[in-house]
């Protein structure tokens, strides 16, 4: 051990835009939904694959093909535990991709599924996951129309990894993307936040609470299609998955070049989730959700949008949490519970439980 700083230059040539000396390896935080993942996308994937569709920075690509507008997206699921309160990796893999399509304003039609299975996985577990996928697909009215299976050596996977891609159709008048967010837009969240992340953490870490906290994993297609059907001026939609509300608002503030103001008191969080976060030293605004989205809606339509969302079980607690302001610089401002203002920042990597 010495106090000398590393003298060797580990940079692998001029082409890689990520400072390799700082990150010679991929860290877990590169997939955490925070700044490091953002940096990976912004600096490596984005510029390398650059094209107008990718550059919109949306949850999926929307394009026209022989007169039809289509949305196309993909997502991979590596969750541990495979089964958790309120869902499992199978239903999650359907809901997640269907929801990504919904965020483009699309009606989802077809999914592909790729399984990466670890040698030794109990066949019974796989059967349950597959049954769960089928049930979720039926519920979302999508068909799984193509697939692939690979098996890796024991120890090279974590039981089961699933990738799903999805295709959906988009109405002609629909134009949903971050760049449409404008001053005065009202920000709606579709329900209480933080339940999925806490449910997973509780199982993974063997934490026990008085009541079981169930994941919010669910499809959100129907309420969104209803909003569009009713002619609500929906400017942007974003699901509140990894990184939670904080990361999603920061990404959109940057993409749209606006200031987003959130009233902390109006953000719905269940008492048990709040308590779990307090105990673990986590902030519920950064916790992942799997059945929650945020809608940016023209102010004139806000109350009608809430009425429509309340007709659906998955969004019956939808509520207004903030508004978009004009600003010279993109930033998210939180009006705290005790009446003060502060920045709501994007997290670096993963939230780390505090010591005491």
């Amino acid at each position: 051990m010495s106090n000398k700083t590393q003298g060797a230059d580990l940079s692998m040539g001029p082409v890689c835009p990520i400072p390799i000396r700082e990150y010679p390896q991929v860290l877990l935080a590169h997939g955490g939904g925070g700044k490091l993942m953002h940096q990976l996308i912004q600096k490596m994937f984005g510029p390398t694959f650059a094209n107008p569709l990718l550059d919109t920075g949306h949850d999926g690509a929307v394009f026209s093909l022989q007169g039809k507008r289509l949305a196309f997206t993909t997502d991979s699921y590596v969750i541990n535990p495979i089964v958790f309160p309120g869902g499992d990796i199978g239903s999650l893999a359907v809901h997640g991709t269907v929801n990504d399509l919904a965020m483009c304003g699309a009606r989802p039609l077809y999914l592909s599924v790729g399984f990466i299975l670890e040698e030794g996985l109990p066949m019974e577990t796989l059967w349950q996951v597959v049954q769960s996928m089928k049930a979720a697909a039926d519920r979302c009215e999508v068909q799984i129309v193509t697939g692939d299976t690979k098996v890796v050596d024991k120890g090279k996977g974590d039981g089961i990894f699933i990738n799903t891609s999805g295709v959906g159709v988009v109405g002609d008048a629909v134009d949903i993307r971050p760049q449409r967010i404008s001053q005065g837009d009202v920000i709606i969240v579709s329900g209480d936040l933080g339940r999925h992340g806490i449910a997973i953490m509780a199982v993974r870490e063997g934490l026990e609470f008085e009541s079981v906290i169930e994941s919010d994993s669910a499809p959100v297609v129907e309420p969104i299609l209803d909003l569009l059907q009713a002619g609500i001026a929906v400017h942007c939609l974003r699901d509140l998955t990894r990184g939670g509300l904080a990361s999603a608002t920061n990404e959109l503030a940057e993409a749209a070049g606006v200031q987003i103001e959130i009233d902390e008191r109006s953000v719905p969080i269940r008492d048990d989730v709040r308590a779990a976060c307090e105990i673990l030293g986590l902030d519920p605004l950064y916790i992942a959700n799997e059945g929650r989205f945020m809608a940016f809606v023209a102010e004139k339509d806000a109350h009608r949008a809430i009425e429509i969302l309340h007709r659906h079980a998955v969004s019956k607690q939808a509520t207004i949490i903030g508004q978009v302001r004009q600003s010279d610089r993109p930033v998210v401002v939180l009006h705290s519970q005790i009446g003060t203002r502060r920045i709501l920042d994007m997290i670096s990597g993963e939230q780390l439980p505090r010591i005491c």
């Binding site: 051990m1 590393q6 502060r342 505090r354």
Partner: protein, 361 residues
């Protein structure tokens, strides 16, 4: 929610704020000792509710921040060894050592695991008898009882494959170091409520008397902190220097006796290095001789290793309340939560990280 939301009430906060304004007649500098309090102050913007004459400075009470660089390097050395399962609280994993952090060790193949309690590490030692399980015991008096319990249980169970890298530190010697410094600007203290829940607050009485300084045992919710500030300012304005207890719903004068007994059973008071501050006598906990076989520094023969600290990072001055995080040249440019140059930028309790997250502009 009980015991939380009622302590975050905007109207009540406004009332205490008004009361503080009414009694404040001149400038005062108060230090909140605990990192949890610093985090709450910045997160809720509590300092914005105070009169301009009151300056809050952030104390040395972030356990991650005060853990010396050489101990992080020792942790990294142990965690990188084959056949070791290295267990740590989450926020230690990203603290930079002189060359890398524990997350990087994990990415390189080291078996580094985040635990929520030292007792989880004991369970792991039972589960993997062929592995050496090492727990990184960091923290103040607050976490010391559970650490001591883990060692005690490991001894009862006769575990031979369990050890601890101990960096426990104590609050009163740190307060005394600040008060006896010629640079000291601090006129009153908010003592850390949870440390006092374990240790009680009789230890602070000689300090209040010797240095003529009010010390208020304070909780962590916005209204707790505002009330703690009120009680402290009231003493200062009235020329009193006493130990008072704001956090009566949790803290008793004598503290938690069984917890104290357990700490004394396993640990003894030793001198300890503080990051950025240097060695403070009687400021840490080390193993009692009869538990010395659990000492990871001995087991891995690294007790003699030392590392010098970076001269650019002003963590020491920040931790003593001499400088604010945004007065550092590295702040938010060369030092960010993604690339921390010093520990206070890592932990969510660290003053620099709190400023970065909530005060950058």
């Amino acid at each position: 929610m009980k015991f939380m939301q009622e302590y975050r009430d905007a109207e009540a906060a406004r009332k205490i704020s008004k009361a503080i304004h009414q009694i404040t007649t001149r400038p005062w500098t108060i230090m909140e000792v605990c990192g949890g309090q610093t985090h709450a102050i910045v997160k809720f913007g509590i300092d914005n509710l105070l009169p301009e004459q009151i300056t809050l400075v952030h104390g040395p009470g972030c356990p991650v921040c005060v853990t010396p660089l050489e101990l992080i390097d020792k942790a990294i050395y142990i965690a990188s060894r084959p056949n070791v399962i290295f267990c740590s609280f989450g926020d230690m994993l990203r603290v930079p050592g002189s060359q890398k952090d524990l997350f990087t060790v994990k990415a390189e193949g080291g078996d580094v695991r985040m635990v929520y309690s030292p007792l989880d590490a004991v369970k792991m030692a039972e589960k993997y008898p062929d592995k050496e399980v090492v727990f990184f015991a960091v923290g103040f008096e607050t976490t010391a009882p559970t650490t001591a319990m883990a060692v005690y249980q490991a001894e009862q169970k006769g575990l031979k494959n369990f050890s601890m890298l101990v960096s426990h530190v104590l609050v009163p010697p740190a307060i005394e170091t600040i008060l006896s410094s010629p640079n000291n600007k601090v006129q009153g203290f908010l003592a850390a409520g949870h440390v006092c829940a374990v240790m009680g607050y009789h230890e602070y009485m000689p300090l209040a008397k010797k240095y003529r300084v009010p010390i208020v045992v304070t909780g962590f919710e916005p209204l707790d902190i505002l009330q703690g500030v009120y009680m402290c300012i009231k003493q200062l304005e009235e020329g009193r220097a006493e130990v008072e207890n704001q956090y009566t719903r949790t803290v008793r004068k004598e503290g938690n006796r069984p917890a104290q007994q357990l700490i004394q059973e396993v640990f003894r008071v030793v001198p300890r290095k503080w990051r950025g501050v240097g060695e403070i006598p009687h400021s840490g906990l080390g193993f009692q001789p009869r538990y010395a076989h659990f000492d990871a520094e001995k087991r891995f023969d690294i007790a003699h290793y030392t590392t010098d600290e970076s001269s650019e990072c002003i963590a020491g001055l920040v931790l003593q309340g001499v400088k604010k995080p945004n007065e550092c040249a590295l702040f938010a440019t060369d030092c960010t939560p993604e690339h921390p140059r010093g520990a206070p930028m890592v932990s969510s309790e660290g003053a620099c990280a709190a400023y970065y997250r909530y005060r950058r502009n």
